[in-house]
């Protein structure tokens, strides 16, 4: 049996790394004594994977765990048992049963949306952002082993808008390419925007929150939880 679980990573827990997160889930699953399937071999470990690695320092309300169970369990029971064994700050929001043969979440994710808080930026955030986006190219430098490479991130940005869900007026909601084929890290976007606005990266620190992850199905954007529909009816 295969489950996809959507979870959040908030507060201080945002400072733990992807590897730490993996360990944390493995141990929580043990504490919850969930019937998870283990790999074969000398040091067996639970068959589980995340849809995408969340960089250290980012919070999220749209992370996904892809997990194989040894025996059947009701998704609601899975959620409540795992939640009681997870440290505060990590919470399963909902899980669904999916087709065991479906390709891995990691391989299907194409988009991710984020909320970027820029609490020290002037009131005219919307205007400035528009100017930023009207540039035909947004070049950012990427360090290669011994040289600098410039890449254009503009095509990876799908939309940017003032967050309606955040009353401070200092947050942007954004949608970027994400996943194994094409990926834009939100920090790179935020740094590029700050550079464009002549802001000091050291002083104008920003906070970034992932909202959700998506992929295309029948030319429509859906989230991994929508995979539940694929279960044979």
């Amino acid at each position: 049996m295969r489950l996809v679980a959507k979870f959040s990573k908030e507060d201080r827990v945002k400072y733990i790394s992807h590897l730490d997160m993996m360990r944390t889930f493995q141990r929580a699953i043990r504490r919850a004594t969930l019937p998870v399937a283990f790999t074969q071999g000398f040091s067996p470990h639970p068959k589980m994977a995340f849809a995408s690695a969340l960089p250290v320092g980012l919070s999220s309300e749209g992370e996904y765990l892809d997990i194989i169970m040894e025996s059947d369990i009701e998704p609601a029971e899975f959620d409540s048992r795992l939640n009681s064994a997870l440290p505060s700050g990590i919470k399963i929001i909902q899980s669904v049963k999916i087709d065991p043969k479906h390709p891995s979440l990691m391989s299907i994710i194409e988009r991710a949306s984020y909320r970027i808080f820029m609490p020290f930026i002037m009131e005219k955030l919307a205007e400035c952002t528009e100017a930023f986006l009207s540039q035909p190219y947004v070049l950012v430098a990427r360090e290669k082993s011994d040289s600098l490479q410039y890449i254009n991130i503009r095509p990876l940005i799908h939309w940017v808008k003032l967050s309606v869900n955040d009353c401070s007026g200092q947050a942007l909601d954004v949608m970027f390419n994400s996943g194994s084929k094409s990926n834009l890290k939100p920090q790179i976007f935020a740094d590029a925007l700050l550079d464009f606005l002549k802001g000091d990266r050291e002083i104008l620190y920003h906070r970034i929150h992932r909202l959700d992850m998506y992929f295309f199905r029948n030319e429509k954007l859906v989230t991994p939880l929508d995979l539940v529909e694929f279960i044979s009816i």
Partner: protein, 611 residues
């Protein structure tokens, strides 16, 4: 409040997870509902400190009290320290993020001398006055415990109170006395007076050392009649009845010992003459198999760890294995947990372990012959024969284990060139022992890692009288070993003799070293146990500036009747016994394990009927 400030710096430091707390099983309490706020301080980085068993025990024991809240604090790594100073963030505890200067007590555990500068640095980062003299009613009390606290004199100026021996035995008495005094608004000095009357509690400022003209100690005397002349360590008589946590904090990050720690006994009866732990943790106290299994069951359930290790000074000496291992391995198998055994002793590495310890195949085996010749092994009372070692290696190879770690020491008393060459010979024999085995069963060519540390004479050991080898001589010995160990499949690493030299100064230091430590810290010394931070030249400069001769402490042989700076502290083992052990060492006479034959070390005088 601190958390908001932290948000500004955490994304700019390495491994921010070190500073966030919030781990599973972290204790949360209402800080306004307790009488005592206690910060357990480990003067090293998070992943080292979180691996320490003593902290796990005391943290949960103190938090078992309704009137106290114990939190944790570690030494921030240098990048974090820099940011904290830049943003004026005082050192805070992980649980509440409150500055530890607001706490009632800050208790440092002293596991290793090279953390002393970190103790001072942490006090400074906490914005707490450094010395006991400078601190007042509104400052926390600064405590210390752990193995190095048995000679606390180098740090005496910085400490208000020192706990000697098993912390879980005395902590309740100490906290009760503190609470009573706080309720009565008795003040700081009143509490310290009361504390000094609790057995096992040493209050440095109530003792005055006097020195002879040659710089050695004339005497250490209490400042008033009501202060005990001798402070005797506290001992948990029965580990089966003593507190052991049913839960442990599960860190997010990969710490040094990231597994369930299951203590199986305390103390060691072997009596290796270089070993301080072997003396200060006497007597040997074993936990029953049933008690251990009960702990294992609850820790597995409450932590979710995938790994477990049995902890003691000499694990394979545990006498209850026959009862423990079958049950334990059943439990581990059903919960898919692997077990690792540290400090395997070569002479008790028996066949019965074979089936239980598959993990050894992967991890390899660690053997500690310590010296390269039988003569020198007899001097240090390492009751191990060279032939036993080779037999163990062969048995391991037959089991398919092909990776070996060999631990040796150099600079041991009476050591000669032949003993060094002997290390090379022994490694060679291990390497070629495979050739005598049946081709069908033997493992691949063994991989051997040889680790050589420098002998550091420590207080309360039979070698507390000896002079440490000079850095120059030690370097020559390492150079000789380098040529002897240039073998295929053998890697050789060694400790920095300069670091061991400073360690030796502090290990047998007196109160005059307080000035030196402060100077070294002012000159930038910290994290001295980390080779990338250890600066011998800065230490040398600090000695000169403080007017302290390091060779007086490290390189001087003491006369039999010298009064030591730790003479007012009683570990239970008598000075006469230690001296007789020293004399026997010089004649190459060994002493049996105290569980086979009692050599009357004196420990029975403080804890009758335990051994």
């Amino acid at each position: 409040m601190v958390m908001e400030q932290l948000e500004r710096i955490l994304h700019r430091v390495e491994k921010p997870v070190r500073y966030i707390g919030n781990e599973y099983n972290m204790v949360e309490k209402d800080k306004d509902e307790v009488w005592i706020r206690f910060a357990f301080a480990f003067p090293d980085v998070y992943e080292v400190g979180m691996s320490h068993l003593g902290m796990k025990i005391l943290y949960h024991k103190i938090n078992g009290r309704e009137d106290a809240y114990c939190e944790r604090v570690f030494a921030p790594w240098t990048d974090m320290e820099q940011k904290m100073r830049e943003y004026d963030i005082p050192l805070f505890a992980l649980e509440t993020k409150d500055p530890i200067k607001q706490f009632d007590m800050v208790g440092f555990t002293l596991q290793y001398e090279m953390t002393y500068t970190n103790v001072i640095n942490m006090l400074d980062l906490a914005q707490i006055p450094l010395t006991s003299k400078e601190r007042g009613e509104n400052d926390p009390l600064i405590l210390a415990g752990g193995p190095c606290a048995f000679n606390p004199e180098p740090l005496a100026d910085f400490l208000d109170l020192v706990v000697l021996g098993d912390g879980e035995e005395v902590i309740d008495e100490l906290l009760d006395a503190y609470k009573l005094n706080k309720q009565k608004k008795g003040g700081r000095d009143n509490f310290l007076k009361a504390a000094s009357r609790i057995p096992g509690i040493y209050v440095p400022k109530f003792y005055e050392p006097d020195y002879k003209d040659d710089g050695t100690v004339l005497g250490i005397t209490p400042v008033s009649e009501d202060i005990p002349r001798l402070v005797t360590k506290r001992v948990v008589a029965s580990l089966d009845k003593a507190y052991y946590p049913e839960t442990m904090i599960v860190p997010y990050m990969d710490i040094v010992h990231d597994r369930i720690a299951l203590e199986i006994f305390r103390g060691c009866g072997r009596g290796c003459r270089f070993c301080q732990a072997g003396i200060i943790y006497r007597p040997v106290r074993e936990r029953n198999a049933e008690t251990i299994l009960k702990s294992a069951r609850s820790l597995i359930k409450n932590t979710g760890y995938e790994d477990l290790s049995l902890v003691s000074l000499s694990t394979s000496d545990y006498r209850g294995f026959g009862k423990l291992l079958p049950e334990l391995s059943k439990m581990l198998k059903s919960s898919r947990i692997s077990m690792s055994l540290p400090s395997m002793r070569i002479d008790s590495f028996a066949d019965e372990f074979k089936d239980e310890l598959h993990a050894l195949k992967k991890a390899g085996i660690t053997l500690a012959p310590e010296a390269g010749s039988q003569r020198l092994r007899d001097v240090i009372n390492k009751g191990v024969e060279g032939q036993d070692l080779l037999d163990s290696v062969k048995r391991a190879l037959e089991m398919g284990i092909d990776s070996f770690k060999l631990y040796f020491m150099i600079g041991l008393p009476t050591e000669e060139q032949n003993d060094i060459i002997g290390i090379g010979d022994m490694v060679r024999e291990v390497k070629y022992s495979r050739n005598s085995l049946d081709k069908t069963i033997r493992a691949a060519n063994p991989r051997i890692t040889v680790s050589v540390s420098t002998f550091v004479p420590k207080a309360f050991t039979p070698f507390q009288w000896v002079a440490q080898d000079s850095v120059e001589r030690l370097e020559a010995k390492i150079a000789l070993l380098t040529t002897k160990l240039r073998l295929k499949g053998v890697s050789f690493n060694w400790h920095d003799p300069g670091l061991s030299f400073i360690e030796a100064v502090l290990a047998r230091g007196d109160r005059k070293l307080g000035k030196l430590l402060k100077r070294a810290w002012e000159n930038g010394c910290k994290f001295d146990g980390w080779s990338e931070h250890f600066k011998l030249d800065v230490w040398s400069k600090s000695f000169a500036e403080a007017g302290v001769d390091p060779h007086f402490y490290a390189g001087r042989e003491r006369s039999d009747d010298e009064i030591f700076p730790w003479e007012h502290i009683d570990v239970g083992v008598s000075k006469d016994f230690l001296l007789s052990e020293y004399k026997k060492a010089l004649s190459g006479i060994t002493t049996p394990d105290c569980r086979a034959y009692c050599s009357a070390c004196g420990i029975q005088d403080i804890i009758k009927g335990v051994c």
